[in-house]
Symmetry: C2
Subunit: 618 residues, 2 copies
């Protein structure tokens, strides 16, 4: 039987895929609207998001801050602007989050809130298409004079919200506002017109979204033009000479980038935009640069949590391997940005390494950004704390709460993909998915207790007709040992390409793939060049980085250590922190240390925390 | 004037000293009875010793344990033995401490206590000279059957007490008891008689003391015979086969030793005895072995505090560089043993490196063994604590309190020495000393605030006639920068030999040497092979190792770190811990760490403590 099965699984020759050029793979992500998440890890998070995160954001935006009032005032062309010049973007990001929530959870009341906001936004748009409450209320004579005042950044989020709300409701009002704003911008900037280097990228990837939904190539071209504007000395903050080309990713033309520098979130958005544009180009333009900066981020400038941007002073990158723990910045928005960028890199390469990084950022740095109840947020995500860090309901600069509000409901985007030859299973999250392959309507169902264990069942629930496609199932880089079985029979030595097990047959209803991934506790060493982690180790299990909190380790805190002989015990505790797999060291009861997943820290009393702990060589 | 002075200071040619063989130097230590300590660091400790330490020991020995009752019962040859088989030694060590105290502080009441004890001890001696309350009360048929039952160890302490009490009071009763016991032993053991390998060394160095006070060479010969008994397979615990040759320093003949192993205190006493015997021999017998094991202890098996014997299981040595902090054993008695042995090595070599180690052990590992008030003791001296360590008034095995009780009052022994050509100033402790050089009675006076700063004034207060001797003043190894002046004029480039500045002139009354030793805060790195201290540093200033206690560093404890840029601030706080120089880091007030001298830890509430802290490379 085993032999028969081996024959079923076609051994793909390397000529077909191993030498595939990046251009040859185009994975289309399956939109989260087609994905119903059913597991016990993410489903409660999505519920809390709808119940807590969104309502927290809405309450802050509507009542506790002046963000909506700014739009009302701008609509009246009178009154004061409150807050900071980029506060409009929080409203747009929350609207995007509302849109995503409405797709899976229709809610007339929530939709009415959104429609109300959108009406006020529309009223704030000037006749010439310009929309930005800050300049409208503080002096339109100053608009488009300072490239770091986030006018295009806000416009980008307006586009993303407009596209999302259109996809969620079919309503075009917000999309049209965004189009008018783009037309306004294109009337001023572009070939033969004024130069413009957006100080905070975002518009570039948004324009590609607008292109994808409208099919109007002018948006794609404008995005390309904006990307190409960088690195030619056009950047300026209005003549005061403080334009830091590193901070603004304006050192050189983006196609020539090799190293990452400057503001972390801006980098992620730039690279996402570049990857988007690159994907739609005939000739490779940015792939060398993207591969090079990806290596630079991942191998030299990323925390074990997948967080990036270690420095507070520039919210970004400093020297390679400068990754302090206590003072880590590791902004939540930047980690979300890592997910955005890495999913795009994966889609245009078919390489699982990008999903490995996405998974790392998602389960650690991103999830730590929001409390388990969904109503409190971290802006920075240190890997150690003296107890001075505590999530807050809101921040003056509220990018992170609003970023979480739009990202969490769309997490379904990252699970599945399809391409000409394959269906891609990227993340292991219990869910069912509708995938349309030509006229074939395929329903897959994934069952798993991930991330608590590595057993996954993937069933072909239904299809219109037998399906001749490879199933490509990601083998996470943390997984050293795994088995695959098909309809109850183990698949010996499945073909693995670019980190995916490739299973090929004519798929029929009821076909069942089972994956069993070993998920032992791992003791992880940092690169020796990260001076702060010399002589230290972190504890990881599957994709989850663990930490220890003072509340669980009062006696041992400050003296915690592991050695090569340390034994660990894992116990699922359904009553702690929303249900977590605890890790404890086994041995001398006086020296037992208890670890919890890093994402779950600071959900009890504020206290000391650390990820990297002493390693003793005995 | 400076030039003139340079001429006064004879430039010694290297042929005279640099090539000196060990045998050519015989430094005679100036006994503490000739030294009056007057400073503000040691004087209060000596007072506390007399007021607290001794009375604590006496109370424990007389009333709270059965140690004196054992002697009474042994005198009656009836009754039970209480405690452990080596408890007699605590009485002898306390008597030695009393004797030393009486020398500088005559006290009829204290002397009466001692006389009372001595009478009871005498009554416990059998007709054949044997004295040991354990065997007398539990069965004399078993005596001299188990070499690990400390019969000779107790006899050694009896000798030391007898010698000390004789020197202090002129009374010979206890000395005679000890002589009788030696005669008894010599009747059984020796050339052509029974073999005997004392499981716990001590008798060897004691016999040399007895030889020194009696001039009877048989004691020296018996000591040599006992040293030479080792390493020939004679050791036995009475036939049960559990004689661990490493634990008992019985691996090989002592002259062939290269590495240190086994029980730390036993090693120190053995090496002290070997150094004593070596010093009195015509031909060098043990110097290679002693130099080799000294290197092995100091460079591979010693804590930064000067503590030794890292392991609890054998109270001794394990692998090279195995120096755990939290589980450090570092027994107080072993650190006192380091002082005993290193002072002897110094006396027969004239090399300051031995005093460097002595100073290190004395000011850190030894002093930490006793509370500032003098009434509580540490048996083990860890370099880190979770708060589980707290000094006690007494221990079941009470070697450490009684060791402290005899060591502290004799600390004056280690300050001065004399040899044919020189007067040696080894430690900087404010004091005056009477030194007899032939018929010349010399009084030197030392003034200093050591260890709080490195300024020392040494004045020739009086002498019978001008003195033609070199003054050899130790330049501590921690001191990188120093100046010497003579009668107000700086000595440019003083000759330095074996770690001593050599000042030669005809000394006259009123001559004044001033030494100014820089004492900055030093950030010290451990050998990389000490795995537990990788990526860590310790803070040291002068001879003092510093530590941080939780009580002073509640917020930062567990996150304390220094870097190459850390600045330190030193402040003398007369009200804290008996008066200490505090060290604080300077900079971000949230990250200030406060250090106190290691010896002063655990004198407030029990809490966490550590010496080695994280080093950040930024």
């Amino acid at each position: 039987m085993k032999n028969t099965l081996l024959l079923l699984i076609t051994l793909l020759s390397l000529s077909g895929f191993g030498q595939a050029k990046r251009k040859q793979v185009h994975i289309e992500p399956i939109n989260f609207s087609k994905v119903k998440i059913t597991d016990s890890f993410w489903q409660p998070r999505l519920k809390n998001h709808a119940a807590s995160t969104l309502s927290t954001c809405i309450s802050q935006i509507e009542s506790q801050t002046g963000r909506i009032t700014n739009f009302e005032n701008a609509g009246k062309r009178s009154g004061k602007h409150s807050g900071i010049f980029y506060d409009d973007s929080d409203v747009y990001k929350a609207l995007e989050g509302i849109a995503y929530t409405l797709i899976n959870n229709p809610d007339p009341k929530l939709e009415k809130t959104a429609d109300n906001w959108i009406a006020k936004i529309e009223s704030a748009q000037l006749k010439d298409g310009y929309i930005n409450t800050y300049y409208t209320l503080t002096g339109l004579d100053k608009r488009w004079t300072d490239m770091d005042k986030h006018e295009m950044y806000c416009a980008g989020h307006l586009i993303e919200a407009g596209v999302a709300y259109y996809q969620a409701t079919g309503k075009t009002k917000l999309l049209n506002v965004s189009k008018k704003m783009v037309d306004h911008m294109m009337s001023l900037f572009g070939e033969g017109k004024r130069h413009w280097v957006p100080g905070h990228e975002e518009i570039e990837l948004a324009l590609v979204k607008l292109y994808n939904v409208t099919n109007n190539k002018k948006y794609l071209d404008f995005s390309k033009w904006l990307l190409e504007e960088r690195g030619h000395g056009h950047g300026t903050t209005g003549g005061n000479g403080e334009w830091d080309v590193k901070y603004y990713q304006d050192v050189k033309p983006v196609a020539e980038l090799t190293d990452i520098s400057g503001h972390a979130v801006r980098c992620m958005y730039l690279f996402s935009g570049m990857t988007d544009v690159e994907k739609l180009e005939e000739k490779s333009r940015y792939s060398n640069a993207l591969n090079s900066v990806w290596d630079d981020v991942v191998f030299r400038n990323m925390y074990i949590t997948g967080g990036i941007g270690s420095s507070k002073s520039n919210e970004g990158f400093t020297e390679d391997y400068d990754l302090p723990n206590l003072d880590a910045y590791s902004e939540t928005c930047a980690s979300v940005g890592m997910c955005y960028w890495n999913s795009r890199m994966n889609q245009s390469s078919g390489d699982a390494k990008y999903m490995d990084v996405l998974e790392k950022s998602l389960y650690n740095a991103v999830l730590a950004g929001v409390s388990i109840t969904g109503d409190k947020f971290f802006y920075v995500n240190p890997l150690a704390s003296k107890g001075q860090h505590h999530r807050k309901a809101w921040y003056g600069t509220a990018c992170c709460p609003s970023q979480i509000s739009r990202f969490i409901p769309s997490v379904g985007n990252y699970i599945y993909g399809k391409s000409d030859n394959s269906i891609w299973i990227n993340l292991y999250i219990g869910s069912s998915v509708d995938i349309t392959v030509g006229k074939n309507k395929v329903v897959l169902q994934q069952e798993t207790n991930f991330p608590w264990n590595g057993d996954v069942k993937l069933v072909v629930k239904s299809l219109s007709s037998p399906l001749k496609k490879e199933m490509r199932l990601r083998i996470p880089s943390w997984c050293k040992k795994y088995t695959f079985s098909l309809n109850g029979t183990e698949i010996m030595n499945p073909v693995v390409e670019n980190g995916y097990a490739v299973l090929k047959k004519e798929w029929k209803k009821g076909d069942e793939i089972r994956i069993s991934m070993d998920m032992p506790v791992e003791v992880v060493k940092a690169d020796d060049r990260v001076k702060e982690n010399l002589g230290k180790r972190a504890i990881q299990r599957g994709p989850l980085v663990y930490c220890l909190e003072e509340i669980d380790n009062k006696t041992n805190f400050g003296f915690e250590s592991v050695s090569e002989n340390t034994k660990f015990e894992t116990t699922f505790n359904p009553d702690l922190l929303g249900g977590i797999m605890e890790i404890k060291t086994v041995g001398d009861p006086k020296n037992v240390i208890k670890f919890i997943p890093y994402y779950s820290w600071d959900n009890r009393e504020a206290g000391k925390m650390k990820v990297w702990i002493d390693y003793k060589n005995n």
